[in-house]
Symmetry: C2
Subunit: 305 residues, 2 copies
Amino acid sequence: MSVVVVGSVAYDGVETPHGRVDRMLGGACTYISLASSYFAKTKIVAVVGDDFAKEDEQFLADRGIDLEGLEHVPGKTFFWAGVYSADMNDRTTLRTDLNVFADFHPKLPANYLQTPYLILGNIQPSLQRNVREQMNGLRLAGGDTMNYWINDYRAELLETIRQWDFLLINDAEARLLSGENNLKRAAAKIFQMGPQTLVIKRGEYGAILFRPDGHFIVPGYLLEEVFDPTGAGDCFAGGFIGYLAEKGFDLKTGHINAKEISRAVIYGSVMGSFCCEKFGVDRFRTLTRAEIDARFNEFRAFTEF
Amino acid sequence: MSVVVVGSVAYDGVETPHGRVDRMLGGACTYISLASSYFAKTKIVAVVGDDFAKEDEQFLADRGIDLEGLEHVPGKTFFWAGVYSADMNDRTTLRTDLNVFADFHPKLPANYLQTPYLILGNIQPSLQRNVREQMNGLRLAGGDTMNYWINDYRAELLETIRQWDFLLINDAEARLLSGENNLKRAAAKIFQMGPQTLVIKRGEYGAILFRPDGHFIVPGYLLEEVFDPTGAGDCFAGGFIGYLAEKGFDLKTGHINAKEISRAVIYGSVMGSFCCEKFGVDRFRTLTRAEIDARFNEFRAFTEF
């Protein structure tokens, strides 16, 4: 079954201890949809400027991504630049030029409206809500957010996530949103806000899946080299939703094994780990589904006891 | 089979966001042996002053711990005091009075010498080596160390751990010892130093077991309240060695399933998690083996997929 992904398509400038790239394809929607495309038909909703390169569009199309919802407007594509710390656990934003993204109002093509899976990248909550409300027959909807919206648009954000089945955020965001330092208690508070599936991303330490009936924890994959962590969290999201769409998972009827949600978290972790192996989206130029499944099996091998 | 534990028996003053205790039983040897005592006959080698309380000695004896190697000398028992940060991931030492521990020279009672399992708490490497060399017929020996010895006693430490089967340290120590930031590469370097079993403790994020033939990762147990993390790493060590001793594991002949070492890491994690539930050693006043095994099964439930 297919997935709609909404968010930013951007150009990024990134510096890590392994090197520097001044301008490369990036953005949450790009990473989510690339990861999701290995599992399910993926349709994007995003905006780019007239500087958006034909070869970048072709790269997404070659992965089978439906670009009907990729709007082209005059002006420049969203540009972000940042530099990572030596251990790559912190990053400093050097530049954020919203450009055409400043006026982004997601427009859903008619043939997207019946898509059963929806994932909303980190954009203004009211825009996320507007998309969610246009969709019919959703089996599963959710997304990401960030500290800026949690702090300064709290009411709007709460109104938005109330309709979500799942929320994918990092540990600092979970603490900020819930006001609880302890993650178990943070999860209990977030369940009261709407989403009954909460995935907390912990970077190199893995992820925790919280559901009202229990939790599942996966450690992070040990890479020998992390070249560039940009987009890893979004690739996690893409692997997560993509796998659930591939399985046809339906939260409302819950007709498949609950362990499948844990497996979706593993596939998310797998996609996030591959993302870090090269700069930007480069790993996805060669990555195969066989490599993905092999790494899924590695996760089983190093966590089983 | 039985275990010899060498290290500090101390009094601690601890302040955490949950409260403050000015003086309570502590020390690496105390925590390791309490945890180990649930699995195997445990014999300690340590020194205390004439202020060491009868009830504290009785508490250890009640757990079946052999105290023949607990030396009593005139003077005061080692005292340490520290305060934890709000999230309890950092702590500041307020006071370290070595007292009788300054002249600690571990003396092994004759009937300890044939014990098959040895774990050396964090003390001066030359003392650790001296103990190791007195023992006959060891099946498994190893221990802990810290940044002070890694930095200022490096040659002595390397000479010591060359004879160890396992090394149990935290991630910062592994990086310092190996000079590698990446943990996989750190492990490869440490294998060359001697120990072929390396357990890296990551606090709330769990632990990684490295062996030349692969690795195993366990996430940390999610507690709703961490009252006092003091001793958690030592309890991990005690659960680890205790379980291997219970199973009669022999690294040289390797006669039991390699998965048993992973299970020892789980039992270590279980004991570390219980330790945090009350101040100091208090959780061990009521803890039962049935509770330990139940939590082991919880680890399986929240990591299986």
